[in-house]
């Protein structure tokens, strides 16, 4: 995974120039959008469900310390082992330690954003352990040394011709076509062998129940269930915000999640397990509770709602920015609107100051969010933090000067007059085609309406 530390505007420019990517993204995001709208419209109490989801997560975060201890106890009682990791390095070291204790050199993985977030595969590789991705899209990216560009559909930026060529180079022979069935069959043959021989698996979790210690993973392919049932050792890496207080709470989220993410009424596979069960599934089970910036986000009264996120990706699909730039521009496994508010909080605002500005504040994300995260409000909050943390000098001057000019009507009138003088050399028949300085960013693709020769207030004065 090659996460980029580049600012969003520059990374976006590159992505926007790729017309194949633009087409792939437009088609994919619009298809999922439409499916989501149809299945959400079927649910008469959708708004109540959203409110329930929000309220459950708000309660969870308000008492997270207690729920975490309750969860730890429940997992331990059910025969599992619980570990606490303050950051990515600690979590990765724990997984490596477990692998070494069992002399494992290759393990299988369930699709997991959290493991991508902490760079688990690279850390394991450095320790001599190969982590094999078993989700089809994740496998495609792994085989190609690429990385995820969408929370749900990691290879959304690739088309099937590209995948056929990749498979010919890696896991299939030259006769394979770009027929999706043939591609799926090739991956099935390749992975089946691995499932039968792997002795250890790593998963993330969609939800984890504090009351019972139960882990919940939802998926479409069934490969995740292979990982969580066949190997003897299973390790689940769990962001601490993934808890829900009670088993009954799953009822709410298992309705909200599939409709919001894949646009399905129900996802094909929902796996639930609690500790270990003699004669059934793994004999050794570990949970690693991961902080990695989450308690920092929790301390922020406005920003903490980002921790409600259930990773459905509905906000990505409706976002006019994401659907044009794709996910890589966000420089994190969490892309789109949720990435723009989550990444700066997990890493610290100074590590991703451009992300809160990667939005036109259109509000489409808030409208579809199944747990009602007010993304626009958090974006504004983080923008203020970004300005405090660093501040772009040119914009700072503009903002300070304009605030000064707006502080009185005479100043404002003077500013208008100065603006009219300044625009004079650039005026062509009432519009401006080209400007120097920061406003060149506007005139590269758009004409600029000139300041009027008579302001409204002058017209008003003249009239009365």
């Amino acid at each position: 995974m090659s996460e980029s530390a580049r600012a969003f505007p520059a990374a976006a420019r590159e992505a926007l120039a790729d017309s194949q990517l633009r087409t792939n993204l437009h088609n994919a995001t619009h298809t999922i959008r439409d499916k989501r709208d149809r299945v959400v419209a079927e649910v008469p109490d959708w708004e109540e469900l959203r409110e329930a989801g929000r309220a459950i997560k708000a309660d969870l975060l308000a008492h997270l310390d207690e729920y975490l201890l309750q969860f730890e106890q429940a997992v331990t009682d059910a025969g599992g082992h619980v570990h606490w990791a303050a950051d990515a390095a600690e979590a990765n070291a724990l997984v490596l330690e477990i692998a070494r204790a069992h002399a494992v050199s290759e393990l299988v993985k369930v699709k997991s954003l959290t493991t991508d977030e902490i760079g688990l595969n690279a850390a394991l590789a450095a320790g001599g352990v190969h982590a094999l991705e078993t989700d089809l899209a994740e496998l495609i990216l792994q085989l190609d040394g690429d990385w995820s560009s969408h929370i749900l559909v990691p290879a959304i930026h690739r088309n099937r011709t590209e995948i056929r060529d990749l498979f010919r180079r890696t896991i299939a022979d030259a006769s394979i076509s770009d027929d999706p069935r043939e591609l799926a069959e090739a991956s099935r043959r390749y992975l089946r062998e691995k499932f039968f021989t792997a002795r250890m698996a790593v998963s993330g979790a969609n939800f984890a129940v504090a009351e019972t210690g139960t882990i919940c993973v939802v998926e479409s392919e069934g490969n995740g269930r292979m990982c969580t049932t066949l190997p003897e050792v299973l390790v689940t890496i769990l962001g601490i915000e993934k808890l829900v207080p009670t088993f009954a709470d799953l009822e709410v989220f298992l309705q909200l999640l599939p409709r919001s993410s894949t646009g399905e009424r129900m996802n094909p596979y929902t796996s639930l397990w609690t500790g270990t069960t003699p004669g059934d599934g793994p004999t050794e089970f570990h949970v690693i509770l991961l902080d990695a910036g989450r308690t920092r986000a929790l301390a922020d009264e406005v920003g903490r709602q980002a921790l409600h996120c259930i990773r459905c990706s509905a906000c990505l699909n409706v976002c006019p920015v994401y659907s044009r730039t794709g996910g890589h521009a966000y420089g994190s496994v969490y892309s789109g609107p949720i990435g723009a508010i989550l990444t700066p909080q997990l890493r610290g605002i100074e590590q991703a100051p451009s992300l809160p500005f990667a939005s036109s504040l259109c509000g489409a994300c808030y409208e579809v969010c199944p747990v009602k995260i007010d993304i626009p409000t958090v974006l504004l909050h983080l923008r203020a933090k970004a300005v405090q943390a660093a501040g772009k000098r040119s914009q700072r001057a503009t903002m300070k000067t304009s605030a000064w000019a707006f502080a009185g009507r005479r100043r404002f009138a003077i500013a208008h007059r100065l603006g009219r003088l300044a625009q004079r050399p650039f005026l062509r028949a009432g519009t401006i085609k080209r400007l120097p300085g920061p406003l060149a960013a506007w005139t590269r693709a758009r004409d600029l309406h000139s300041l009027s020769s008579e302001s409204f207030r002058d017209w008003w004065e003249r009239r009365t």
């Binding site: 505007p9 504040l361 970004a386 304009s402 502080a407 009507r409 004409d447 409204f456």
Partner: protein, 228 residues
């Protein structure tokens, strides 16, 4: 009704014709319009850019200038929505123009005549923050001679987003190019909306493309009486 006009900074300096049209419509309907001279800007640009203390001062100033008026109108849904979010006490006092006309004054036919093919772009703030609902469409529907056309992907953002248009200029341009493609494909000769700022973005792109479509604010259409 005595109505105070909040013209907005863009409305004052760039698009005075929108304010002039707003005054014309309200006076035609028999209302008294007043213009508090001390007004400048609501501070939305500062809020959206992360300059909270500057925005707070401008917001306070707004509350001082308009404090004495029971009914305030602005031809800009984004300024209205932002101010109502920051100052909830403005609910029921501060209105976007179409809200005031349809919701408060109960008028849909303002006596306008505009025999043109028109596409309506529902701006993001008017849809999701100010929530003006179908008020603009009802007003347009009652305009004599006006043919309202379907706009594809109408609810998709035009890409303005305040300083977003500058700081993320490439993404913003990609968005407005798609929006203008839909507008041109609709067959309209005029595109309208309830936010002057979005119309600067859309109109600026249409002008760059040399498209035969004009971007007009809803107030400018409602002010037209023609030969009716």
């Amino acid at each position: 009704v005595r109505i105070a006009l909040f013209i907005t900074c863009i409305g004052d300096t760039v698009l005075p014709q929108v304010g002039i049209a707003t005054v014309a419509v309200l006076e035609r309907l028999g209302h008294e319009v007043v213009f508090p001279r001390e007004q400048t800007c609501c501070g939305q640009m500062h809020v959206n850019s992360g300059y909270r203390s500057e925005a707070d001062r401008l917001g306070e100033r707004f509350m001082e200038v308009f404090g004495e008026y029971d009914t305030v109108v602005s031809p800009s849904s984004s300024c209205v929505g932002t101010m109502r979010e920051l100052h909830p006490e403005l609910h029921g006092r501060l209105f976007e123009l179409s809200e005031l006309l349809v919701g408060r004054l109960g008028v849909t036919d303002v006596g306008a005549s505009f025999p043109h093919r028109v596409a309506y772009h529902p701006t993001c703030h008017s849809l999701r923050v100010t929530a003006v609902g179908d008020a603009p469409l009802r007003l347009l529907g009652a305009v004599h001679g006006l043919e309202l056309l379907e706009l594809a992907d109408a609810r998709e953002c035009c890409g303005f987003g305040g300083t977003f248009a500058i700081t993320n200029a490439d993404t913003s341009a990609a968005m407005v190019i798609d929006k203008c493609r839909a507008i041109v494909a609709s067959g309209a000769s005029v595109v309208t909306a309830v936010d002057g700022s979005c119309l600067l973005q859309i109109g600026g792109r249409l002008s760059r493309e040399g498209a035969a479509v004009r971007a007009l604010h809803l107030a400018e259409i409602l002010a037209q009486t023609g030969t009716r």
